[in-house]
């Protein structure tokens, strides 16, 4: 049973989502502010966080950034506004996915399950791309022998790209493969995640040699020549 932490300041929404998510089969802990949420997160170590953006005190973006400093667990943003700037800032601060209020519980549940699936182990071998070693069975990635801390989404993105080295994958394909979104996904999810992944795996993130942009198409993982 997945253990979720719900951080939402509005009592009604918190209660409603807690009810609905519990009913979907999750164990839910709820917090009414960013500070409470961070405290609960440290005490209870949930599997996933559903995080409201607009919070009194430290806001959702900041909560997201603070968690990302130490932990790579999945975070789904709950934004009241689908204003583009919110989405972009949220994805940059390290969120894995986002949903817009008013969200239907079954949609949120689908997102939660999709995110959690990204961390599941596979029965497969490992492969190396230069100094980068991707161990699919252990679900670890090392660079120069050092363990890289990747979120499940980043890891899944890297796995999907590494499964087809040298082949360009469109953003919509990646949305389907990694996020399990259908045809109408938000391609900014892919862009933001690629940025974060590059920051971790590339020697020079601004001049990527592994995860290459294919203009007008999407991305591909190149084996180093």
């Amino acid at each position: 049973m997945p253990f979720l932490l719900l951080i939402e300041d509005d009592d009604a929404i918190r209660t409603g989502l807690e009810l609905a998510l519990t009913r979907q089969g999750h164990r839910v802990a709820a917090a009414a502010s960013g500070e409470d949420g961070l405290r609960l997160f440290k005490e209870q170590r949930p599997d996933l966080i559903v995080l409201d953006v607009m919070l009194p005190g430290i806001d959702g973006f900041e909560v997201c950034r603070r968690i990302r400093r130490t932990d790579q667990l999945p975070i789904i943003l709950l934004t009241a506004r689908s204003d583009d700037i919110d989405v972009v800032v949220g994805l940059e601060s390290g969120a894995d996915d986002y949903v817009v209020k008013p969200v239907q519980p079954r949609v949120l549940d689908a997102r939660i399950r999709a995110v959690l699936r990204r961390g599941e182990r596979e029965n497969s071998d490992s492969s190396a791309f230069g100094s980068l070693v991707i161990d699919r069975s252990a679900m670890t990635v090392t660079k120069d022998g050092q363990d890289l801390q990747l979120t499940p989404t980043e890891l899944r993105l890297l796995l999907e790209l590494s499964r087809r080295p040298g082949q360009a994958l469109s953003r919509q394909q990646l949305l389907r493969l990694v996020w399990e979104h259908d045809y109408l996904g938000d391609s900014r999810l892919v862009d933001a995640c690629v940025q974060r992944l590059r920051a971790k795996v590339e020697d020079v993130p601004s001049a990527p040699t592994l995860i290459r942009t294919v203009r007008g198409v999407g991305y591909r993982l190149d084996p180093p020549s």
């Binding site: 929404i13 009241a80 204003d83 008013p102 949609v107 469109s170 919509q172 203009r215």
Partner: protein, 567 residues
């Protein structure tokens, strides 16, 4: 580019038009200056000429008279030809340089000249007559013969010819005095005057230029300011200096612009206020709606187990909550378009895939006929386009009835650029003519009598706004068979997405799948079937993902009614 050229042409035309006033001013100044200079120079020239010539010839004639009367005293009566020649050269060499011809009527063959170039034949006949004709002696005229003169041109040289009869019976002497020096002097004078006139003309033109500039600059500034004001730059003001009529005009312009901008500001402030109100209100509505939506699923799941008296009430709450949620969602979307914060997240997509995905996701297979060859690719925001398709098809199903026909074609736009044309035709009675212009208006209900429509009343206007943000448009008309026809036209590449469009065919792979979707109902795996996606075509895994419209408020849920009906 062409706009730029047009603008430039207009500026030039304006300059030319303005300069016509300038040309007129310059012309007037020039005419005045020319008239003054020419008349002054002319008068000066003629006065000078007269004075110079008169002095020269008077001097020569006086000298001739004196010298002749002195020399003639030594002349014997009935002097022979050599004596006459002697006389001629004596007189000629006596004083000023002139040439002398002496003629004696009694010796017609005698040529007494000081210079062989000058002969009696060159003396004008009229002068000869005047000189040789005796005048009756009276109280006012003591002598029979007088000294006469005439100006002539000999071989292009100006001369004054004077002549007189020495004594009543004696020979006649003529003098040729060259006026060449005087002519040279006068020519110099003439040239000087012409140059002076020219200078006066140039000065006048410059003066006219300066004068016209002082008038035209404010006029041009005023014209520019008026143009800028017309372009909507309401903060345009003119610098006012001086108290003349033009600065009065500038002052009037400024106060007019001030009043105008105040009014516009007030109006736009009011409009912004009301838009903000709508945005804030829908935003505020969203929080309770989120809480309510969160529990509607629970209520719905439990509805069957409830008391038959309560169950309809619960279902009503559930369905109306969803309706309200859609309405608020659409309102938010509209306010985003109004505020200009709606953004395009564009990707290169196959339009046929999008149409299929839209119909597929809403279970409209049975009611919609699709003629959409794959391979029509365009750079679009897939979620926004999905809203457009959902609204157009949903509207056609709702008001026109099935079968609804959707065709996708690639066409050529009015500017010659490629465009995507999607036509949605229904089988209904069509749209009344008086309603046609309003179908994209917000909350416009064709049937006023219908108290509650299933839609939010915003669907088509949101579809239109979504088409427009792509640089495209939607038109509504009635087909030949009577049904309503909505035509969506989108540029293949919306402006500003050039980078995303580069080399776009790499994952296109339309070659293999050219007609896969043309017959209507692709199976689910095919939907994802890009050419390089064969090995993960079933990766969607969206079994528990029944609702696809949820995703972003900014695009995913413009057609709530149809979506809900499938659940």
């Amino acid at each position: 580019m062409t706009d730029h050229q047009n603008g430039r042409r207009q500026v030039w035309r304006r300059r030319l038009r303005l300069s016509s006033l300038r040309v007129r001013l310059a012309a007037v100044f020039a005419v005045v200056a020319l008239t003054a200079a020419v008349s002054a120079s002319g008068i000066a020239y003629w006065l000078n000429r007269d004075a110079v010539l008169k002095r020269a010839q008077d001097t020569a004639l006086n000298d001739f008279r004196v010298s002749l009367s002195r020399s003639v005293q030594g002349l014997p009566l009935n002097a022979g030809c050599p004596a006459l020649a002697q006389l001629a050269s004596e007189v000629a060499s006596s004083g000023l340089s002139y040439n002398v011809v002496v003629v004696d009527d009694n010796q017609p063959d005698c040529t007494a000249v000081s210079d062989p170039r000058f002969t009696a034949a060159q003396v004008p006949h009229a002068l000869q007559m005047a000189v040789t004709t005796p005048r009756p002696v009276g109280p006012g005229n003591p002598n029979e013969y007088h000294l006469y003169w005439q100006r002539v041109n000999l071989d292009g040289q100006p001369y004054v010819v004077g002549g007189t009869r020495v004594v009543p019976t004696g020979p006649t002497a003529y003098m040729f005095k060259s006026l060449d020096n005087e002519r040279a002097d006068l020519n110099t004078l003439g040239w000087s005057l012409a140059v002076a006139t020219l200078l006066a003309l140039i000065a006048a033109t410059l003066l006219a230029q300066a004068a016209s500039a002082t008038v035209l600059r404010p006029v041009r500034q005023l014209a520019d300011a008026a143009r800028r004001l017309g372009e909507g730059k309401l903060d345009t003001r003119l610098e006012v200096s001086g108290t003349d009529e033009l600065s009065d005009l500038a002052r009037t312009f400024n106060s007019t612009a001030e009043a105008l901008s105040e009014q516009v500001e007030e109006l736009s402030a009011r409009e912004a206020q009301s838009r903000r109100f709508v945005a804030d209100m829908s935003h505020e509505l969203r929080t309770p709606l989120t809480a309510m939506t969160a529990v509607t699923d629970i209520l719905e799941d439990e509805a069957d187990a409830l008391d038959p008296m309560i169950e309809p009430a619960v279902r009503l709450v559930v369905s109306e909550t969803r309706r309200l949620s859609d309405l608020v969602e659409n309102l938010m979307e509209v306010t985003r378009f109004d505020a200009g914060t709606a953004k395009l997240v564009a990707d290169e997509m196959d339009i046929a895939d999008l149409v299929m995905s839209c119909i597929d996701g809403r279970a409209w297979y049975d009611a919609v006929e699709v003629d959409a060859p794959r391979g029509v690719r365009a750079v679009v925001d897939p979620r926004r386009l999905d809203v457009v398709f959902a609204n157009l098809i949903g509207n056609a199903l709702k008001h026109g009835g099935s079968p609804v026909k959707v065709t996708v074609r690639q066409g050529v736009g009015p500017t010659g650029a490629g465009e995507v044309v999607v036509r949605v035709t229904d089988s209904g009675p069509g749209i009344p003519e008086e309603v046609l212009p309003h179908v994209f208006d917000r909350f416009y209900k064709a049937d006023k009598g219908r108290a509650r429509s299933e839609g939010s009343g915003l669907g088509l206007s949101i579809a239109m706004a979504n088409a427009q943000i792509h640089g495209g448009t939607i038109t509504a008309a009635n087909g030949e068979q009577g049904g309503a026809v909505f035509t969506l036209r989108l540029p293949l590449r919306p402006a500003g997405t050039g980078a995303a469009a580069d080399g776009g065919s790499a994952d296109g792979g339309s070659a293999g799948g050219g007609s896969a979707g043309s017959s209507g109902r692709p199976s689910a795996p095919e939907r994802g079937g890009r050419d390089d996606a064969g090995d993960f075509g079933d990766g969607g895994g969206s079994a528990d993902f029944g609702d696809r419209g949820d995703f972003g408020g900014s695009g995913g849920s413009g057609d709530g009614t149809e979506r809900r009906s499938e659940q």
